[in-house]
Amino acid sequence: MSIITTSGLTMQFGTQRALDSLNVAVQSGVTGLVGANGAGKTTLMSLVLGLRVPTAGQTRVLGLDPRARGAELRAQIGYGPERNVLPQDTPASDFVKHMAEVRGMPRNEARGRASDALWLVGLGEERARSLGTMSTGQRQRVKLAQAIASDPALLLLDEPTDGLDPVQRDEMLSLIRQVSREYGIDVLLSSHLLEEVERICDHIVALDAGRLVAQGRLEDLVGDEQGVAVELAETADQPHAFNDVVSRLSESGLEVRHGEVGSRMEVIGPDADLIADLVRDAVADANARVIRIERRRRRLEDLFSAGTP
């Protein structure tokens, strides 16, 4: 069943069209809403929450119309906003408890759930600290905790990894996945970092300038392509190894593309076995040091560079 469906959803701000007749069906599970800044991700979220009136089109979320039954709908949604400002002087536990109450938890229940949610996101020891003294990573966790404390059916997370370093980002992503899997909460998370979306999402909705670029299951959208990507190490004793490999492969009639970093290349051709052998021999002959040899994959990035379908 679709959690969120839109048909012909259009949002116009003055002369700017933030969303352009969007037809989206978000399925159960973790869905990544990807796109560049200004692609319309936040606008779509605010329409899902019923905070704006669309210029045209329909939206249904959890079977409800956000405009007509907004309060009822929002009671089932946990929302983690993109803005990173939170009440400075409020202790994390007070803030999460308050948001749980506002989202419908009875008072006694809210206190316990706030504490549980903070422990779940790894802030159990820090729950009495005020939000202003917390780091970016901790505040992102608090935003997640307040969104899940009311046990929502649907989590909307706007850029939940923004400003996090890799370790924190991994932890946040696995937390989100864990919450979704263990507690059966559907998640729609937006991000402009495609690689993280690829890492945890079941489904993708990709936007570009307010238009739908692609949607569907992740494995249907990214997959193998012809050829391999080769990365070689630059070594002091074999300074020409990379160029040697490139020229040998080119001489064999394969298409070789330099990657964006100097020690990477892509070798393209229809016959996978032939490529594998030629690459192996070229590398061996050039005395090059292999870092990686990998099948070329279509990445989400390609969805955007390919332009709108």
Partner: protein, 324 residues
């Protein structure tokens, strides 16, 4: 998992990242805010070219940059830019270009006005011409009548960069210039950095996104928990990292034969076959990387994929940070 203790400690003397005259000298610098130590006994020098300052959030990157610019004084130690302290010497401030981390601009100015003002406040000879040139450099239109308050995050980042460039500084400090940018914008920014570095400027660029850092520059300073945990050439850093155990996944048409050959020749220290893939553990990736192709060629094994499972920068970084 143990690594030799000394291999990644900051070397006793500031590592000569470049042989040229150092533009930035940081000596035994400590900065604390109350009881919290943000930067702890850090020393390094940086010369021309692009240097990436890498570290998790809260590691002390911004504090270090602020001290370089003189925006705050170190609690102990000295920070010199071009031989002087920016906090005390007026003219040194004119040779620094800073794009601060915070997304703060004079929102009521147009991009041109903002950059032109930066030029004026720097006392450049031709603020208007310089501003146009800087804006053109970052692909912004000087005639755009929109105020920067209405700009997207990516455009604001570029306005900051243009303002930092307008005085043709010797030292460019860019604090997290890539956050909030989409992949296309990021690529464009990175190539800008390389152009500037090739032009002889000293660029210090901080980031916490590791896959970006390899592209930003080969000189890396890694800072974690307020300390300089590693510095030098990114590739050499990686070679240093070769001491730790690596795990590499190899897809071939004969996993068992390849496994026994690799172990037999001492290239692999351990091997396991799982779902057609060969998982190799090795303590010496250099030898492994040089041997895998010749050995397969010799044995006639078709090599489809060789994928390090823990050799991306994020793993390196995690290793550096978590080992401590």
């Amino acid at each position: 998992m143990s690594a030799p203790e000394s291999s990644l400690e900051p070397p006793p003397a500031p590592p000569p990242v470049s042989t040229a005259r150092p533009i930035v000298e940081v000596q035994n610098v400590t900065k604390s805010f109350g009881d919290v130590v943000a930067v702890s006994d850090v020393s390094f020098t940086v010369g021309p070219g692009v240097t990436a300052l890498l570290g998790p959030n809260g590691a002390g990157k911004s504090t270090l940059f602020r001290m370089l610019c003189g925006l705050t004084a170190p609690s102990r130690g000295t920070v010199r830019v071009l031989g002087e302290k920016a906090r005390e010497h007026r003219n040194v401030r004119g040779r620094i270009g800073l794009a601060p981390q915070q997304d703060a601009l004079l929102d009521r100015f147009t991009a041109y006005e903002f950059v032109e003002l930066a030029g004026r406040t720097h006392g450049v000879a031709d603020p208007s011409g310089q501003a146009r040139q800087s804006l053109a450099y970052v692909d912004l239109d000087p005639e755009d009548p929109k105020r920067v308050g209405a700009y997207s995050k990516g455009m604001r980042q570029r306005v900051k960069l243009a303002a930092a460039l307008v005085n043709d500084p010797d030292l460019l400090i860019l604090d997290e210039p890539l956050t909030g940018l989409d992949p296309v914008q990021r690529n464009r920014m990175i190539s800008l950095f390389h152009d500037l570095g090739d032009g002889g400027k000293c660029l210090l660029v901080s980031s916490h996104v590791l896959d970006e850092v390899a592209r930003i520059g080969s000189n890396v300073l890694v800072i974690a928990q307020g300390r300089l945990v590693a510095s030098g050439d990114y590739r050499r850093l990686r070679e240093l990292m070769d001491d730790r155990p690596h795990r590499i996944r190899v897809h071939s048409d004969d996993a068992r034969k390849l496994a026994s050959a690799l172990i037999g020749r001492g290239v692999a220290d351990g091997a396991a076959v799982r779902e057609n893939a060969l998982l190799i553990d090795t303590l010496n990736v250099d030898r492994f990387g040089r041997s895998i192709a010749p050995i397969s060629a010799e044995l006639g094994i078709r090599l489809r994929e060789v994928v390090p499972t823990d050799d991306d920068l994020e793993s390196v970084f995690r290793y550096l940070v978590e080992r401590r």
